[in-house]
Structure formats: C-alpha cells, structure tokens
C-alpha cells in the first residue's frame, strides 16, 4: 500500500513523543490552538486518566477532557447530543464494535488512518478505514481465592450453571458495557440463549460496568465473576487482592475496542494527534504493561504473568452482527436477569 509514507509518519510520531520535534510540528501548533481534545471513552477510569496525562505531558498546551462511562451509555450520549445538535465529542472509544458500524453507516465518523496501524492484525482494522482497535481484552471468569479453593473453582462457562453457585456470583450488564454485550453475543453464538436463561437461575448480582465485577469479587461480596474485562481482574490481582482468573478452554470472547474521530469533531487536529498518540508503540506498551490490556501492535511485549493471546482460544464476534442484535441482547438479558 503506502508503507514508506506511513513509516515516516510513524517515525515522526515517535519523535514527537520523545519531545524532540515539538516546536516544529505544525500539527501540534494547530492542536494547541484548539486547546483540547474531548474523549468519550469506556476505558476503565484510572487507565483512561493515565493515557490522558501521558498525552498532556507529551503535548503541553493540549488538554484531554476525559468522559468515561460504559460503551452503551456513550452511544446514547453521542446520539442524544446530536439530536439536540450538540457537537461535543472529538474521539469516541468504546468496547462495542457494533457501535462503530452504526456510527459509520450514519456518517458520523471521519475516515482517518492512525500512524502505524497498517502493521496491526486484520481484526483491529475497519475495512473502510474509519475505526481501529486501540486495545483488546478478553472476557473471563474470576474467583475469590480466599472463598473458593482452586480445586472447586469453575473451569468452564458451563460450570457456572451449577446450583452450588446460587447467590454467589456477579455479572456486569450488556446494557452498560460493550465488553459484556460482546461477551453475551459470543456465548449466545456458542450455547444459545438457553445458557443465560439457566445462568439466571443462580440469582446473580447485577452490576453495570465490566470493571466492577473485579471489585465485587475482590471484596468478597460475591465469590465468582461470570464475566468482565480480563484487564481489570489482572490489575486487581496485581494489587494483591485474593483473586484468580480462569480462561475457559472452550474459548474466551475477544473484545477489540475501536477508536474513531467523529465527523463533527470540534477539535479535529487535537483529535488526530491524540489518536496517533494512542497507537504509538509507547502508549500501546503502557496499556500492555500497567493496564494489562492486549493490543494489536506487533512490537508490544506482555507481562510474563499473563497468557499470550495466541495461547487462548478466542471467540470473535462480527461487529455487523453485534450492531444488528444489540437490542435483542439487552432485551433478553433483562428478561432473564430482571433488570
């Protein structure tokens, strides 16, 4: 395609990051004039604030306004605001790839290829070039090691249907979290809705964010999480909480979280700068190291206490299908779990 050009851009970005080319970069000047970039993100709040602070440190004069909530809430926000003719969001980043199909189809995204993404695997790239996967995680099972001996811990998705877990498990909500929406569809494709109907018999505690089950299990409020972003479990475990992660052998739902610049971005230059920054080797490495995320960047290395993506059986979901079945997922989930 255009390897040289992209490589030059990538190299430039790295230089910018290193703080070498600040004064000369006309894009930085343009971004500075805009002053800030407004980021609607579903990345866990502390992780999102960390990325924002890194960007601000590397680009003095350009602030990042972080608006963190669940993927599904972000879509609602964006659509509600547009209906009222409010143009606020520059960069949208959620874990529901279906949203990006929807936004693209409604012409709400700008076509933009971030520097360096051509080396990313196909699963991280929109074929039309509107959005790219900034990070990935898998949805897994986790349990509290103080309350559950390893021998008794659930090993597979079906183990969770055992009545011995009644009132001892927690799930996050597909009406809030894109990770969970993806998770539900992946497992529905595997086992059918019957799986969730049976799971609901175990009277789960319902939380909203895919970040929350980690906290619930760590505190011991429930001893098993039936879903949730692996990176939040990983971070929670690393902080010394009594928590262990289970990667079922039948496969774990893979969630690639895209990012895109809106077609109505009020700060387009800052948005492009911020997007490029996110895909840089440095930031992708930070996401992998301190946040426990997977990325599409081929040069990124991962902590030794985490399985490699290639070691896991991954259950992928087609964004188009996720978009089409979005309402069905929420509706049936609420039907089974009550709220």
């Amino acid at each position: 395609m255009m390897p040289t050009a992209v490589r030059v851009v990538a190299l430039l970005t790295v230089l910018v990051l290193a703080g070498a080319a600040h004064a000369q970069d006309p894009r930085l000047e343009a971004a500075k004039k805009e002053g800030k970039v407004v980021w609607y993100t579903s990345l866990a709040l502390p992780s999102a604030e960390k990325v924002a602070k890194l960007f601000e440190a590397a680009h003095p004069g350009v602030k990042v306004e972080v608006h963190r909530t669940g993927s599904e809430r972000i879509l609602s926000r964006v659509m509600q605001e547009l209906k009222a003719n409010i143009k606020n969001a520059d960069v949208v980043h959620t874990s529901d790839a279906g949203h990006f199909v929807l936004l693209k189809n409604q012409k709400l995204l700008t076509k933009y290829t971030p520097a360096g993404v051509d080396a990313f695997p196909a699963g991280f790239k929109d074929k039309d070039g509107f959005y790219y996967g900034l990070r990935a995680t898998v949805s897994v099972i986790a349990y509290n090691t103080k309350a559950v001996p390893a021998a008794e811990a659930p090993r597979s998705w079906k183990d969770l249907l055992d009545p011995k877990w009644k009132a001892r498990m927690v799930t996050a909500h597909p009406g809030y979290s894109g990770i969970i929406a993806t998770h539900v569809l992946a497992l529905v494709n595997q086992y059918g809705w019957d799986y969730f109907k049976q799971l609901a018999q175990n009277r789960l505690m319902l939380v909203q964010s895919a970040v929350d089950p980690a906290g619930v299990v760590a505190s011991g409020e429930r001893v098993v999480a039936v879903d949730g972003g692996e990176y939040t479990f990983y971070q929670t475990r690393k902080k010394g909480n009594p928590l262990e992660i289970v990667y079922p052998k039948e496969g774990v739902p893979l969630i690639v979280s895209p990012t895109a610049i809106t077609s109505f971005a009020p700060h387009p230059n800052a948005a492009r700068l911020f997007t490029d920054f996110g895909f840089s080797r440095e930031v992708q490495q930070v996401l992998a190291d301190s946040e426990g995320l997977y990325t599409g960047h081929p040069e990124v290395t991962y902590p030794a206490d985490k399985p490699k993506l290639s070691d896991l059986k991954l259950l992928s979901v087609d964004p188009e299908e996720l978009e089409k079945r979005n309402e069905e997922i929420k509706k049936r989930f609420v039907e089974f779990f009550g709220a």
Binding site: L45, E49, T69, Q80, A167, G215
Partner: protein
C-alpha cells in the same frame, strides 16, 4: 386586633390598584415564568405520551402490555407503602419522645434527625452497600465472626433492604409533622382523661391519637411520595438485585435507542399518583379543626419516662446509628483506605482517593464548579422568585393570587424523573434548545425546588403584619420602595433560609440530573453515580464527604439566619 386591622385595611383600600400599577409588570413576569417552567414541559410531556404518529393511545397500551413495566410499577407501590409505614413506625415514636417526654438528649436527637433529613439518600444507600452487602458488608462480616453463622444478618440488595435504607432518610418527614403537632397539644386534655379514669394506653388511643392522626397521615403521604420519586437508592440497591422501580425503569428507557414516548406515557401514573396523594394530604390538613391543637394556653408537661428514660434514648440513638453514625463512618473509612472491605491498617491507609478524586480525575473539578454555580444561581433566582411570589399571594396583590399560589406549589406533584423527561422533550428541540447547557439543569432545579422555597417564604411573610407596609403607604412610599425599605429587612432571615433550602436541594439532586446532564454539564451527584456504576468506591466516598460538608455548612448558615432549628420543631 392585628388581624382585624389588616382585614379592614384590605377591604377599605379601593385605591390600591393605583399603587400597584408600576409593580404589575413584575408580577406578570413572575406568573409568566411559572407558566414557562411548568406549562411548557408538562404540555410537551402529555403531548409526547399520546404523540408519535398522530394522536394515539398506543404508548399507554404498550405500557400496560409490558410485564416489565407493570412489574416496576408494582414494585414501586410495594416499596412506597412499606416506606410510609416504616417511616411512621420510626418517626412517630421519636417525635413523641422528643416532644412530650423527659427523654434525655433531646437537642442531640433533633440535630441527628436533621442530619438524616439533609443526607442525600443515594449516599446513604451507597454506604449501606458497604455495611450490609450480604457477604462483604462489614456488619455481616462482624455477624459471621461473632456467631459463626453461615448466612448474612441482613441482605441490603432486597426489597426489605431498600425499604430500610429509604426509611432511615425519609422518617424525618413524619417526625416533623408529628413533633410540630404534639408540641401544640396541651397536656390538659390528656390529664383530664387520666383524671376521668382512663389508663395511659386508653388516653393515648382516645385523646392523643385522634389529635395527631392528620399529622400522621400527612407524614405518611410525604414519606410515600419521597419513596415514589427517589432514583438513586433503587438504582444502587434494586438493580443489583434484578428489579426495577418506576424511576429506574424510566431512566433505562433513555438508553439507545431512546423510547421517549414510552417514558412519557409511563411517567403519567407517577404524576397522577403524586397529585392524588397530595390532594388527600391537603384535605387531611384542611380538616385539622381541633381547637385543642395550636392553642396558646395550656401547659405541656413532659411525661416522665422513669426507668425507661435511658432505654428510650438508646432506641433513638440506635435509629440514628443506622442513618448517620454507621454510614458516615463507613464513608470515611472507604475514603481513607485502599480496599474498603479490608481492616483499616497502616498498609491499607491512604490519601490516594483524595488525590485521585480532586487532582487526577478530570471530571471532578468541573463537576464541583458546575454544582456550585447551579446551586448559587438557582438558590438566588429561586429565593427572589419565591419571595416575590409569596409576597404577591400573601398580600393578595393580583387578581387570581390563589392561582399563583397553586402554581408555585404545583411542581411538588412532579417527581424529579418525570420533570426531567418533560424538560428533555421540551428543551431538546427548537425554539428553546437548552439541552447540553447548564440552563436546562437550572430550569429543572428551579422548578423542583420552588415549592419548598415558596412554603418557607410564605411562612415568613405571614409572620410580617401588613400594618407596617400600610404605614409606609400612608407616608407616600410606592409599593416597590416599601418592599425594599420595610418588608425586605423584616423578611431577610426567612429569605436567607429559603435560599439555603433551595441550595441544599440543588447540590444533592440526582433524579432529574441523571437524565438531563451531558458530559460537559456534569454535576457532583451525577459524577458520584457514574463512579458507582464503575465501582470506584474510594472516589465516591471522597465526593460524598465533600457533598455532606457543603450541605452541613449550609445548614449551619440557615440555623444562624433563622435563629432556630431548620425542622421548625419548637423547644
């Protein structure tokens, strides 16, 4: 004499209109503002509920046809009735103890009831998640350690749990009504009954109870209304347990793709129920015709409790432990610890939550600024507005002053969520696009807090005799000048109190804000709710404490201004 002079002056003042002329535009503007705040949004709400493609009852049928919506409706009925009953069970005895007996520590109990009254219920609910979550809740952990039991002592994620948490912040409504009535009943009647041979129980049943019955019923209705309208507590306690109430259900109808018409239709039962209950309450209070209540004569001798003095105090403090001590304690602990469920050891102790909340989490500072701006703006505009309104209605300055009074109190029938749905519909479309600005929140808060401010302000003007103003008129001053030089100085402390009431109401508001905010216009309560959904306990605790500090600072201000207890309970 006072009353007579005022009446005569009113009747014998045919030339009154001459002086009113210049003031008329002011009153007209005020009335217009009311219509704008109320009529436009509610009009849109009704229109939307039958709207869509032509006029249809389809949305109402869809409500009736949805088992989920009907279940939410039923849950709200169950919840509200139990909260009403439980509020009486707690509020009435407490009121009786502090108003009529020699229980020690009355001042303390009253202060604590007040503290419970101003505590944002969603903060209480959040604290109780940490106290009585069935497994990690500290009370349940302690219970298991003590007894070796398997099951929890209490499970807060249940309907009874929700009733309990709502009640401990709702019973002050009953307390206020009953305590104020009891304080007005002279002991003579009860003593007469005792002399005539009635026992204590039968005296209470035949004499005291009938006299406080209207206050009890009225307090019950206020508690029920509160339970119907709250959003935060059910969102925090009912959703994890897998059930909805009307408010959480309406809110979830706003998820993409939003079903605004359905939300509008589903708002109607809430609106009608509230209006109906308030009507009943008005009737009840209107019938309060007992000559024995409110008489100035007669002594109120405290009933000696004897050996029960201290057990009674203990009981009161037990209630307050649930409402204040335990929740505030656990919030403080969560704010200061890395992991709230772990013991507060040195290694668990941290100030990170404070630094994260105030310096690293970029939404916090903006939200605090927004909240303060809205609080000050709404309270200031609101206090002036209710002062003018209550002046107009109290001095009967315009034709149809009854209507003005009605309109000023009318927003009380609109629960916050419903108001938000109405405002959302009205102000996301031309000609008035306010969505996405602080203005829509300002309008919501102003509308929602007006009844409280109006009631406070009306009481103030009722206490200022009109003769002073009339003296000013005779001396040739215009109505506005009198307002400024005579009435305003007298009414000042009452108006400051109204300001504070509105301010406290605004900074804790969640049920309307949660629908009307946009990322650029977040307020503190919304940020707390956001954090709750992500499970960031430390940051919530920090923000919650900040909110409580702000609230109590305002309460101190109002006590200073009024020179008395905010609850209005007499010594």
């Amino acid at each position: 004499m006072t009353v007579l002079a005022g009446d005569v002056a009113r009747v014998a003042a045919p030339g009154r209109w001459a002086g009113v002329d210049r003031a008329l535009p002011v009153w007209a503007a005020v009335v217009l503002a009311l219509l704008f705040l109320m009529a436009l949004p509610l009009g849109w709400l009704v229109w939307m509920s039958v709207g869509g493609a032509g006029v249809t009852l389809g949305h109402y049928l869809a409500v009736l046809d949805s088992p989920a919506l009907m279940q939410a409706l039923w849950n709200t009925v169950v919840l509200a009735l139990w909260v009403g009953v439980a509020s009486i069970a707690i509020g009435a005895p407490l009121a009786w103890l502090t108003a009529r007996t020699d229980v020690p520590g009355k001042g303390l109990i009253r202060s604590l009831v007040l503290a419970s009254f101003v505590t944002p219920p969603f903060l209480g609910a959040f604290a109780w998640v940490m106290l009585a979550g069935p497994n990690a809740g500290l009370l349940n952990v302690a219970w298991r350690d003590l007894t070796g039991a398997d099951g929890p002592l209490v499970d807060i994620f249940t309907m009874p749990g929700l009733v309990f948490v709502m009640t401990i912040y709702t019973f002050p409504y009953v307390y206020i009504m009953v305590a104020n009535t009891l304080a007005l009943i002279a002991s003579d009647l009860e003593e007469a009954a005792a002399i005539l041979g009635a026992g204590r129980v039968s005296t209470a049943r035949t004499v005291t109870l009938p006299m406080v019955a209207p206050a009890l019923a009225s307090g019950f209705i206020l508690a029920v209304l509160q339970a119907i309208a709250l959003f935060g507590s059910p969102a925090i306690l009912a959703l994890p347990a897998g059930f909805h109430t009307i408010t959480t259900q309406i809110w979830s109808l706003f998820q993409y793709p939003p079903k605004v018409e359905l939300a509008a239709a589903f708002s109607m039962p809430l609106l009608l129920a509230t209006a109906l209950l308030l009507l009943v309450q008005k009737r009840l209070l209107g019938r309060r015709g007992y000559a024995a209540v409110g008489g100035k004569g007669g002594q109120r001798r405290p009933i000696p409790l004897g050996v029960w003095r201290y057990p009674a105090l203990l009981g009161c403090l037990g209630v307050m432990a649930c409402a204040i001590f335990l929740p505030y304690g656990i919030l403080t602990k969560a704010a200061l610890s890395r992991a709230w469920a772990q013991p507060l050891t040195w290694s668990n102790l941290t100030l990170d939550n404070f630094t994260f909340t105030f310096f690293e989490y970029s939404a916090t500072q903006a939200a605090i600024v927004n909240t303060l701006q809205l609080g000050v703006a709404t309270a200031t505009v609101g206090a002036v507005l209710v002062a003018l309104l209550s002046y107009v209605t109290n001095r009967r300055l315009v034709i149809g002053h009854q209507l003005v009074a009605f309109l000023a109190l009318a927003p009380i029938v609109i629960p916050g969520v419903v108001l938000a749905v109405a405002l959302f519909i009205a102000y996301t479309r031309p000609p008035f696009v306010l969505y996405g600005t602080l203005a829509i929140l300002f309008v919501a808060y102003l509308t929602k807090e007006m009844p409280v401010g109006y009631a406070q302000s009306e009481a103030t003007f009722r206490a200022i005799p009109p003769e002073l103003e009339e003296a000013g008129r005779i001396l040739g001053a215009g109505r506005l000048r009198i307002l400024r030089d005579v009435t305003a100085p007298l009414a000042r402390s009452g108006i400051i109190a109204a300001w504070c009431f509105i301010f406290i109401g605004v900074i804790r508001e969640l049920s309307a804000s949660i629908i009307l905010f946009t990322p650029a216009t977040k307020v503190m309560s919304v940020v707390i709710f956001d954090l709750k959904e992500e499970g960031q306990f430390g940051a919530i605790a920090v923000l919650g404490i900040a909110m409580l500090a702000l609230t109590f600072a305002t309460v101190v201000l109002v006590q200073r201004a009024l020179g008395r207890d905010v609850l209005g309970v007499r010594e």
